[in-house]
Amino acid sequence: MADQLERYLKSKLSDGVDRRDFLKLGLTATGMAAVAACGGNPTSGSSGSSGPTGPEFKVGAVLPESGVYAELGKSITNGMQMYFDSVANQAGNRKITMVSADEQTALASAVAATKKVVEQDSVDMVAGYVSSPNAAGNRDYLDGQKMPTLIANAGVNSLSRAAKSPFIYRTSFSNWQPSHPMGTYVAEKLGKKKIQLVYAKYGAGLESVAAFKETFTAAGGTIVGPDVATPFPNNGDQTPFVQAINTGEIDGIYCFMSGTDAVSFLKKAAELGTLKKVDLVSGSGFFVEQDVLAAITDAAPLGALTGLHWALTLDTKENQDFVSKYSKKFAGRQADVFAVQGFDTARVIVDALNAVKGKTDDKLNFMKAISHVAFQSPRGDFKFDPNTNNVVQTIYIRKVVHNSKLGWTNQVIDHYPGVADPGK
């Protein structure tokens, strides 16, 4: 329902409704959505004299609605929507409204989208960014504007290190995080010492395998060359890359790929039977996250071990609650890690708004409130690291299994709590 209203709103906006009308519509629409979220019907609950009286709080959601990352953008938007709805779209006596702009794929579009929400919509804060170059490319502008910003996906390490900003916090992960514990796990706990690296050659791939290598070689492991580095994105045949896996001489592979690349790679590997010839298939969790597994189904690499900050099967009350409500709210759509990131992003906004009682004029004070937000997320303990402005979180070691209820999924078999990016 909230979805439909959102769409209705946008269509109204594009029809040339003026700004005031838009805000009015926004208020009624979010009000109705809030009622819907509370499970009441519009006639019984909406007389609400208890609505917020402070000024509206606008969140600019810069997320891809078109292009190759549209799927991730959708999940993050859903997650945010779900949390905002669960608190009736208000916090700190302020009505929360999401204003979205299409991040698309190229940086030029993401820059335009950011400027649009900041300057045209006068948002109070910005949240989003799926792709790392887009987050990094908007960093200076957001920092210069002193615009409170939450990065909801883009993992580029530099945003927690050299390029961190007092106004930019990250609720998702740094590329270093999911892979760093995996090196220790593979070399020490599994005793696999000969690993070949397989990755899509772009920022996220390179930073992920570098983090793995760091702990893996420190624990006595050897990287067997040559690396299998695919172009990114790889729309061609994956066969030569699958066949470049040196099955005879290695204990296993460590892989970073995601989305469409992971789908075509795993399918080809399954057809050729390559991954069955190595003892261990390991990688960053994005390689076999729910979006990939749903697409490849029976071509999934049974038993593959990956590190990530969440798993669908994670057996906590918060997570099971989240997973079932998400699926109910979004017409059977299965929750994924991106939805969790969106959900937590919205929660950080709400908690911080409550902490400052809706007073966000003092930007530094608001950022301080953001930095203190800590809670039990569907992914486990969630808090920020004051050194990096990045989330500190548990990294789960997960195993690909076929579950009678959920189909192909990842089962948690171990975990590393409190993993924090090493930035200073």
Binding site: P231, T239, P240, F241, S264, L272, D291, V292, A295, I296
Partner: protein, 254 residues
Amino acid sequence: MDVLNLAHGSFYMIGAYTAYSVVLATHSFWLALLIAPLLLALVGGLLELVFFRRLYRHGHLAQVLLTFGFTLVFVDLIRSGYGPTTRSIAPPPSLGGAVHFLGATFSSYSLFVLGVAVVVGALLLAAWRRLRVGAVLRAGVADKEMAGLLGIDLARVFTLTFAFGAGLAGLAGVIAAPEFAIFPAMDASVLILALVVVVLGGLGSIEGAIVGAAVIGLGYVIGTTLFPQVALVLIFGLMAAVLVVRPTGLFGRR
């Protein structure tokens, strides 16, 4: 036909999505193989009748604009119909495994694709060279006016040819569906590769397209093995090299 159709990649994409829908509904890949080309031939024929027909006079640039517009429309329609999610279908069960010979491993499905390509190529070549329809088309490409004077109903021939081309793109989409991932941006990369193949081979020549495809395919595989990062760049380099030496492609007419 001398039409520059950027929406040809969209036909391929729609073919793949049709395959996805049909397989989801009926669990039969073979049925998809039948339905998608027919559907796409229908779409292509209609587009030719309604839009392209008016544009033959206006040259390539109007065609670029029109078909670029169609790629945007099609990608948006696909995304709103199927969502942005990456999808995939499994190869039919009989072709799901791997085959070993000559000391190498091949996926059976890849061999099947190879087989289909050879058969389609051979049929096309035979039709192009031996059948009346081939002769008519060759005449049409060579000299529209003369062919018209000879009493050939070129308008009908062009509609049917366009429909047939779209159907073939749809067939390619179905064949590609189990091999690659299915997603709303899949049209772009294949379009560029197809253009490269056709131009390298020489326009208006089926032989050229077949040889071009073989050259590009081999070049790509060798490229990915030797320099994986720049394989696509190598393909363009290959095409550039050929065109610099033979400015109308391998089999193109001077």
